[in-house]
Symmetry: C2
Subunit: 356 residues, 2 copies
Amino acid sequence: MEISELGEFGLIGHLTKDIRPQNPETVKGVGDDCAVLSYDEGRRVLVTTDLLLEGIHFDLQYVPLQHLGYKSAMVNLSDIYAMNGRPRQMTVSLGVSKRFSVEDLEAFYSGLRLACERHHCDIVGGDTSSSMTGLTISITCIGDVATDKVVYRSGAQPNDLICVSGDLGAAYMGLQLLEREKSVYNAMVAEAVKKGQSPSSLPPFEPDFSGREYLLERQLRPEARRDIIEGLEKAGIVPTSMMDISDGLSSELLHICKASNVGCRVYEERIPLDYQTAVMAEELNFNVVTCAMNGGEDYELLFTVPLSMHERVETVAGVKVIGHITKPELGKVMVGRDGSEMTLKAQGWNPLKSEK
Amino acid sequence: MEISELGEFGLIGHLTKDIRPQNPETVKGVGDDCAVLSYDEGRRVLVTTDLLLEGIHFDLQYVPLQHLGYKSAMVNLSDIYAMNGRPRQMTVSLGVSKRFSVEDLEAFYSGLRLACERHHCDIVGGDTSSSMTGLTISITCIGDVATDKVVYRSGAQPNDLICVSGDLGAAYMGLQLLEREKSVYNAMVAEAVKKGQSPSSLPPFEPDFSGREYLLERQLRPEARRDIIEGLEKAGIVPTSMMDISDGLSSELLHICKASNVGCRVYEERIPLDYQTAVMAEELNFNVVTCAMNGGEDYELLFTVPLSMHERVETVAGVKVIGHITKPELGKVMVGRDGSEMTLKAQGWNPLKSEK
């Protein structure tokens, strides 16, 4: 059977479906943003891991190594926050081919360390190896959370409010922008070669990013939302369910609905968008809401709170209520500006799923 | 600067040299078999991680995927035992290229799960992604140990006895054997192609492994030494220092001496060797002691105990005393059968160090 038939989530589910934990310390295994472990009565230890591969998850033609280090850390930190936890420790494994120098790895580490310092996370170990091709990054992050404050994907209840932090789709637009400028540059080089010129004789390439700085930043240097977790805590709110938005809002909403056995109803007009995202989508002739719903790598938080928390949650800076949880039989629905209803589909960014 | 100038340990040391832990839960970061975390007063949480890359750490031309899964788990389990701990949880990330099928990954997972079941370790999460080339395996293992029973590399004292479990060099001989049979097969294929025959028309290749089963098993299916940790516990022994032997005895002895600021004196005639290892070394015209000292992937335990434990440690099955710890000024010495003294050098298997 080809792996693309199952897709990433299908594959993990298939390989781990009948695994039964043996240790009493294993509270929750596969299936949420983090595994949840009980090494202490009063708090839970959280563990998450991410594998980032050159050519699949990043393109070093336009991603500086320092930014890559920063983002690699953020992807993991975000998963800890998604359980309402605080990151504490990180291990970092790198596989590097011969084309990387010690200075390259220093640049990567400087970004990684900056991210860890900002989020009070200690780098405690790792593994470094040569690789045959490209750069391989594997990071595991460990965090903790008070036992009665762990937030899973599975706790959403009908009538809960659905909230998201920040705005959506900008990281995806940033990627499109970078891909566009890369094409322009590659075409310039191809043209030069055709004319018998050396690519090194070309004038330095100056990509056109003016007015698009926010999109670039969202793609290259996303920030895990520690501030939201702290804001919720200050407001005395423990979400009923939560996850981070890495594969697109649609896909994550479906995860929460499946894990909680509920339906949802979100409103197109409530989806938070940045102005630059809208302009860029217009320019590329993309539907901006589709970008926000299905573009990946936002690393914002999606969570639900009881209806009674409505006023309280609106006091938390950067949070927007976009809809509410329903009974499962009402489906997973987005209500358009014109009142039309669309069923949500996961069209998120999924490098294992074949494009059909 | 080229990475090969630093080597693997040099590179990790260089990149992490001025990292200072910020969290009180971080007891020990980079520099031992595991990081040591304090999430509970009575016990320590241990974390270790390994990255295994196709073409560097394994060759799928002769390593069956089920064995690879088993070994990938063992490499990590062994690091937990090396801290005197017990493995509890594991995360598994895989990067797979298109040439792998779901059945291939099932085979990998069946080996991985068998290893975890035998060692009472729960698979709690992971990440699965496509890769551009080859198979990438990243595993993180979490374990625990009573706070007063953690064993670091740094606790060896002059006069302590140096002990090893099992026998050494067999995994390295197993690798040589597999490489030799691979060459024979590849030469057959090349010859057939030269004669205009299709390689598929050749009779099935039957590698000659008779009488060498132990070497193969040591290379393909090593077993982490939980039994030794349990034996030491039963005998009431907490080693003063310990690590697992993955890069060769010489290299590991030097790590312990450096971390403990001591010297060592080991005796050539005491190095445990299996008969098959000796026969194979003879056949290949290798010095068998050099293989035992510098061949990697034994996954045996190297540890030190106080001299007063001499009789007690000899009751533990599978343990051999090979020498003793000395003051640092006496150097790191191996005493030959003829009484000659050689200074130990790390010539272990190190895929990042350039061969000079």
